[in-house]
Symmetry: C2
Subunit: 643 residues, 2 copies
């Protein structure tokens, strides 16, 4: 068994009030927050430790020793404002907010759970000033807050934390340029300069070059310091307050994973040939125990040196050690995509794969290592990546452009549009499509991507449901499609492997019947929603209700004859979108029904994610949106009985 423990608020009070040298106290508080962040991430099963730890000393310093926020209260108009632009350092930030009683223990220990704290910052959580998680927006938002304070005649400074990889986003430089011209002096930016992005060093993705020189050229007041040295932090932030004519940026040299020896960036990169594995995800049980022990031992040793009692912790949970998890065994369509990329790419020498620092998550690593000369790592610069793909395509190559759907379809939308107007062929792969996993929260869940591509007249949109269909889909996009395609891929392990009919042929506008039934037809796609659909049909079957489930991977093409055939005499139709009900499969079917006199009077009910996506475990999120199998069964029964 492993034990997950919490350092309670009372302990933070004790240290806060202890008669200690200020910097020694901050050191202790910082490590205590690290221990609590580690515990909540382990409990959640996911979360970002590396960059929580690299900036935690800075966040601790700001809240405990520099800002007026706790004293005035997080709702006070004259408060100092702090938020993180990178956002994945939320577990560390929550730990500080919990330690100061700004969020409750109940909320804090439920990281990435419904009703707990979100995987990325959300303003509905007390003490969180802005939503982030998508990179590059923070300085602009902080700029707005700082201007608003001036317009409202409110005092208080605005502090915003950025990552270093994040500085590859163009919006950062837009904001630096406008903020300097607008002379926003109550704005202070801190760069958590830990030199590592998702799993490689920044210099191995897109080097930032001479950062101080860049910020100075953009007209900012620049200082640099050791982000783990509290004396250094104090003197630098004190000096900032004397600069009243321009915005200020502090480049804080930090260590990713700081505080747990085997998570510390430089050491890991030396040992692992430049692959850093502590950016995201919970540590395995042994690593968790070792890391937690190292932190608490150091804290207790110091407490002893200062003549203080050792830490009292509270047991949150014990769980079986090294238990098997779904993801260890389940099918993942993204892995099938990765394999297919290499197979197809071996034959198509004109194929070029583009990445925006999500190579591992998007299943690109094998292609990256097999065909390095046809793999372009472009860093966290989605717009540049997409327009570059346009240029590659204009010169006769076939670009496969990868990122999470919420970033690619949205951040680079106008670049995708401009490419489309050139009538070249480009394949856009929107990874992490849909509601699940729901732990990271709104900034990562992609529920609008179909609608963001939908009005492009020359792009085919499709989402495969299992490994086989994923390979068929990629092969079709590369070798059959005449124009551009958008491929939606779920990133989470498939809760079950969807079985396709033996005679299944992958044909534009046509789907496959997965279960026969005459009482109603449910159209769905992708592993997540087809699994819930199958659960629903199993439940309905118990009441003698025969639900026909149709897998339709084509999200903007529909074969009218096939539709009439598959619906037949059935009166009740349902669609299930792993997307907003706006612009998805439901609306495609509505148009299909209207186009057919035989189908025009049929009744279709659309199921989809009709609000911003909930944060939580998959069952929590699915149930919240009434899209889990059980809720679907109830909704389908209700809709059909009502007639």
């Amino acid at each position: 068994m492993i034990e997950i423990k919490l350092i309670p608020q009372t302990e933070f009070k004790r240290i806060h009030n202890a008669d200690l040298n200020k910097h020694n106290r901050l050191e202790l508080l910082g490590d205590m927050c690290r221990a609590n962040a580690l515990a909540t991430v382990k409990r959640a099963g996911s979360g970002h430790l590396g960059s929580s730890f690299s900036c935690l000393d800075i966040v601790t310093f700001l809240y405990y020793a520099h800002m007026n926020t706790v004293e005035l209260g997080v709702g006070h108009q004259n408060r100092d404002i702090y938020f993180s632009s990178k956002g994945h350092d939320a577990p560390g930030h929550y730990a500080v907010l919990y330690s100061l009683e700004i969020i409750s223990q109940q909320q804090f220990i439920n990281l990435r759970r419904l009703g707990g704290t979100h995987g990325h910052p959300d303003v509905h959580i007390s003490g969180i000033e802005a939503n982030s998680g998508s990179l590059g927006m923070g300085i602009s938002k902080a700029k707005g807050m700082a201007i608003a304070k001036q317009m409202n005649g409110w005092s208080g400074r605005v502090f915003v934390m950025t990552g270093d990889g994040e500085l590859q986003e163009g919006q950062i430089w837009e904001a630096l340029q406008t903020a300097a011209y607008q002379k926003i002096a109550n704005l202070q930016v801190i760069v958590d300069f830990n030199k590592i992005q998702s799993d490689k060093s920044v210099d191995n993705i897109i080097s930032l070059g001479d950062l101080e020189r860049k910020f100075k050229a953009f007209g900012w007041h620049v200082q640099r310091c050791d982000g783990h040295n509290f004396a250094d932090l104090e003197s630098n932030f004190t000096r900032f307050d004397q600069i009243t004519d321009k915005p200020k940026v502090l480049i804080a040299d930090t260590v990713k994973g700081r505080g747990v020896s085997f998570m510390e960036g430089h050491r890991v990169l030396e040992e692992k040939e430049d692959l850093y594995q502590w950016h995201a995800g919970a540590p395995d049980d042994n690593s968790f125990e070792a890391g937690y022990a190292e932190l608490t031992d150091r804290i207790n040793t110091r407490l002893g040196e200062y003549g203080l009692e050792p830490l009292t912790t509270e047991l949150l949970e014990t769980r079986e050690k090294n238990r098997k998890r779904l993801k260890d065994t389940a099918e993942k369509v993204v892995n099938a995509f990765g394999d297919a990329l290499v197979e197809v790419g071996a034959k198509r020498k004109d194929m070029v794969v583009l990445d925006a620092d999500l190579s591992a998550d998007c299943g690109l690593r094998t292609f990256e290592n097999t065909f390095p000369q046809r793999f372009i790592e472009n860093g966290i610069s989605e717009q540049d990546m997409v327009s570059m793909a346009g240029g590659l395509a204009l010169q006769g190559l076939l670009p496969i452009v990868n990122s999470f759907g919420v970033f690619l379809a949205s951040r680079a939308n106008e670049q995708i549009y401009t490419n489309a107007t050139e009538d070249t062929k480009i394949i856009y792969v929107c990874h992490y499509a849909g509601l699940i996993p729901a732990g990271p929260g709104k900034s990562h869940q992609s529920l609008r991507d179909i609608s963001l591509f939908g009005a492009l007249p020359n792009i085919t949109i499709l989402e495969p449901c299992n490994a086989i269909e994923t390979k068929l889909a990629l092969d079709w996009c590369v070798n059959t499609a005449e124009k551009s395609c958008m491929l939606r891929l779920v990133i989470s392990p498939s809760p079950r492997s969807i079985t396709l009919p033996q005679d299944y042929r992958f044909t534009p506008g046509k789907g496959a019947v997965l279960t026969e039934g005459t009482d109603a037809v449910l159209f769905a796609y992708g592993p997540v929603m087809l699994n819930e659909a199958l659960k629903a049909s199993e439940l309905l079957e118990e009441d003698g209700f025969a639900l026909k489930i149709v897998n339709l991977p084509w999200l903007n093409q529909l074969d009218g004859d096939w539709l009439e055939e598959v619906i037949g005499d059935c009166e009740f139709l349902f669609s299930l979108d792993n997307h907003s009900p706006y612009g998805g499969l439901g609306d495609l079917l509505l148009n299909g029904l209207m186009a057919s006199p035989a189908l025009r009077q049929k009744q279709l009910e659309k199921f989809g994610v009709d609000d911003f996506p909930a944060c939580g475990t998959p069952p929590e999120a699915l149930q919240y949106h009434k899209l889990d199998g059980k809720s679907l069964a109830v909704r389908i029964a209700g809709a059909t009985n009502r007639q």
Copy 2:
């Protein structure tokens, strides 16, 4: 009468082959291209002269004296590639392409006409290498072309021209950062540094600061020269070819409007208190005649000095002088919006208006001058503007965010999404909504904006049809709406002022009947499409067909009871979108019909812009998409007779 004349290709040949000093020859060719660009812009009635003229000497130098493109042919794989990232300098570029017989006279003289050349570059025109017109994408696209040349083993350099105001776009800095790291040495960027953006000096919008320093800090090889001095251009571009280890940027100091004394930037700004009026639009008849005379006189004087015959020109067209045009008298909803902003803003002290360098076009200038402290000019940085608005809203202000719909809804889409997840209230105004004006081309016509906002669960989308409804809409958004709104506004003069019923009440989800009729119902919105709808009903009436026209300004809200009432017994329904048929009013109605058992079996046909928007005059574009009144009448009659 005024005469519009063309300098024919034979004259360019004559000068090109004349025994002249190289730089004198280039001077002549540049001015001859200026004269032809001026003629085509005057003929089109719109187009960008200021920045065509500022970079024309550079473009002339590249094609006539530096690139291998003409020699090898524009389709050759080893050709040098040139394109413009800013794109609005297209008239000048076309003039060079025409002079070199890369495009035909027929195509060249039909600027902004169907089958002619587009208002912004389009690859379907011979010699155009990339689509642009939306700013900031060019360096990224050129980067892709340059990498492709390397991958394909093709020689040739890639030259891309950017504006200076354009450097406010973040994507530029993304591209500069990645290109330097990727060491793309066959890439050469030219900055047309004319120091003026749409109608103000760059330093009065968002200053670029020390541009050389910025480019150097980003790792580029930087040179600076006089963009109108051919000797200077020659030596700088020659030096570039010796730099083989990094990308290169030439900062070319130029004069906006160069070549026509009264259009030259510095002079205009001195006289007009920093308002430059020659960026876009055709000059009035007197200015055209004076400008054309100045250019041709100078050319002929030089020809005389060189002992050459004066120019022979070809008469293209004579037209009545100072004729009245629609825009001189017609209603413009954008003007009504501008007035309403000031009225509403006078009462709402929390209202802040944001602009991205389109103040005049978006009708903001009166507010800008009346409430300068509540007007934020953010330059061509839409993403920064939108996130800044998010920060302003989080601090209790009400931001009204303005840009053209195609830029705002698309370029800043993810920033709009993130703001929406914070549940603050922001009003986004998508100007230049829809198909008309169709002269500027795809990069400016906004036909996807409804779909780009549509999946946001907490934003109301509406488009008013006349001045009265525009004021009602803004007042509703500011004073009644609880959440964010997206207001679509047509930018062109209304072909007719739409008359609303006396008893019209502006109510969410409900529209107004404009013409009574029982044979069919047509739902539409906005001045452009309602005008075509009314034309259609007038034509149908001649055949005794009574069409009921309903104005429905609410594009994502529908009142079910009202819908049943307004449709009544009518069997045939039509929707008319000034937008893609995907995600617009048509789909809203499809959902509304499905929700009502009484309406479910009705037949709805959707009309909309179902391809990329055509470039041309309003009648040409409307007819091309079969959305003009006559085509609509035919389509409606056909659909109803077919039954």
